[in-house]
Amino acid sequence: MIAVLRSEVHRSLTVRSGWISMAAIVLLGLTFGWFSVDFWSLLAELGAFAIAVMNTGQHYQHRTAVLLYLGQPRRLTALAAQALAAVVLATAVAVASGLAVLVTGAAHQFRSTLAVVPLMALYGVFNATVVRRPTWLFIGYAGWFIFIEGLVGKLELPLPISSFLKAGGGDYHSLLIFAGWTALAMVAAIVAVHRDLTSD
């Protein structure tokens, strides 16, 4: 587990697009955190989701999942390590990007956002394990957000995106709902991670 964790973190920090994206999130957060803590919250939460999806999904996209599972053939262990790596990276990025928010005195929002970020990272890893294609996932969630949660649910229904948006603002009940969605995604990922890795 530790070997996979170290390997995953090293990989994320040495893939150029990966560290550039994380650096960009930190810079954006530091810049806009001065003006809007809500913007920073959204950025940190969506950033956590994106980091997790990219780190996990790219393994399937570039076929390096083969190398991962050759190194750790017990796939649940590999999944747990990937989840932990995403949590570590996403939390580190959120903390670094939120320093400006802390300076402005919005400590409560900082804490509530940091409660959501690890869950978002886990949610991203589990979703990417099921879907295996980052682009499909992003497009799918964009459509889901606009049509289902936005137009139909008016962001009031206890659905994943609506829940994490409210949780980031300190809504404890919404945080629990989002944790439930994450648990559901985890169950799906535990099943999906055992799928065959064919040569496509």
Partner: protein, 292 residues
């Protein structure tokens, strides 16, 4: 040692691999041969735990792959064409793999040198040629200094120099006591390297033998040219030989060179040419797989 015991994989109604049973032994290079779509890759992936077998067992050192302790230090695999993240440099890729395999990262640079990629160590692998990516795959497989190597069509993308380099590397590995299982759809490509051969067709193993046995089974042919080919043809046929012609000379199988010389002498036909042709392994292979 690698053992496939009645390995079977079905996709719906289709049996991609059907009770494949074979062994790859230490100290030997085993060629795993079959036409495209015959089930080679699926079988190798079942051996490595990447695809779940519908039934049967795949054992490496008498254990399932997932039960091996530190698997990358026991088995090195070259699968597909150059697996790496295109945004990572060759050196970073190997360092990531070293962490995964729990091997010392000091092995990375010597390995890059060994596979001829030292000059490209800091280039992103997305900028590598296909041959360079294959060399990086070989370096990845060797990172844990494993005793067993499993390679799926590793010569794809390599230039002739690269193929010769790989052949020597695998030969040295087997000579040092390692086990090498290498797949290909071209027997001629492997004939200079392998000791044993496993031929798969339509998902079934149709032949498992040493290369020497396969060669002997192919039969030796004689090329014969004389003043009166027609009379020679009949004389050889009367002696029980199979005779064909390429338009220039007779191709005779089932007779020794001594027999041919004697028969031609008794038929009073002067010979202009009598040569022995090595068995055409490719033809033997194609005959085996085309029967299915």
């Amino acid at each position: 040692m690698i053992q496939a015991l009645a390995l079977t994989k079905t996709y719906g109604q289709v049996r991609a691999v059907n009770e494949a049973t074979f062994t790859a032994s230490p100290g030997r290079v085993t060629g795993f041969l079959g036409l495209n779509g015959s089930g080679k890759t699926t079988t190798l992936r079942m051996l490595l735990g990447l695809i779940r077998a519908t039934s049967g067992q795949a054992l490496i050192k008498n254990r399932r792959y997932r039960d091996l302790k530190h698997p990358l230090r026991q088995v090195g695999a070259v699968l597909e064409q150059g697996l790496s993240h295109p945004g990572q440099t060759g050196r970073a890729h190997l360092a990531t793999q070293a962490l995964l395999a729990r091997v010392d990262r000091s092995r990375v640079d010597p390995l890059l040198d060994r596979v001829g990629l030292a000059h490209a160590a800091d280039r992103r692998t997305g900028d590598y040629s296909l041959g360079m990516r294959q060399r990086l795959s070989v370096a990845t497989a060797l990172l844990g200094d494993p005793e067993i190597l499993v390679l799926d069509e590793p010569a794809n993308g390599l230039d002739p120099e690269g193929v010769a380099w790989l052949r020597q590397l695998l030969r040295d590995h087997a000579d040092a006591g390692g086990t090498v299982l290498i797949s290909s759809h071209l027997l001629a490509e492997l004939a200079q390297l392998i000791d044993d051969v496993v031929i798969i067709a339509g998902g079934r193993v149709v032949r498992e033998s040493s290369l020497a046995e396969l060669s002997a089974g192919g039969g030796r042919r004689l090329r014969v040219r004389g003043r009166d080919p027609r009379r020679l043809w009949y004389a050889f046929q009367d002696a029980g030989a199979d005779v064909t012609t390429d338009g220039h000379a007779l191709e005779v199988s089932g007779l020794s060179p001594e027999d041919v010389g004697e028969i031609a002498f008794h038929a009073r036909v002067p010979l202009y040419e009598l040569s022995s042709e090595a068995p055409n392994l490719e033809k033997v292979f194609l005959d085996l797989v085309s029967d299915r």
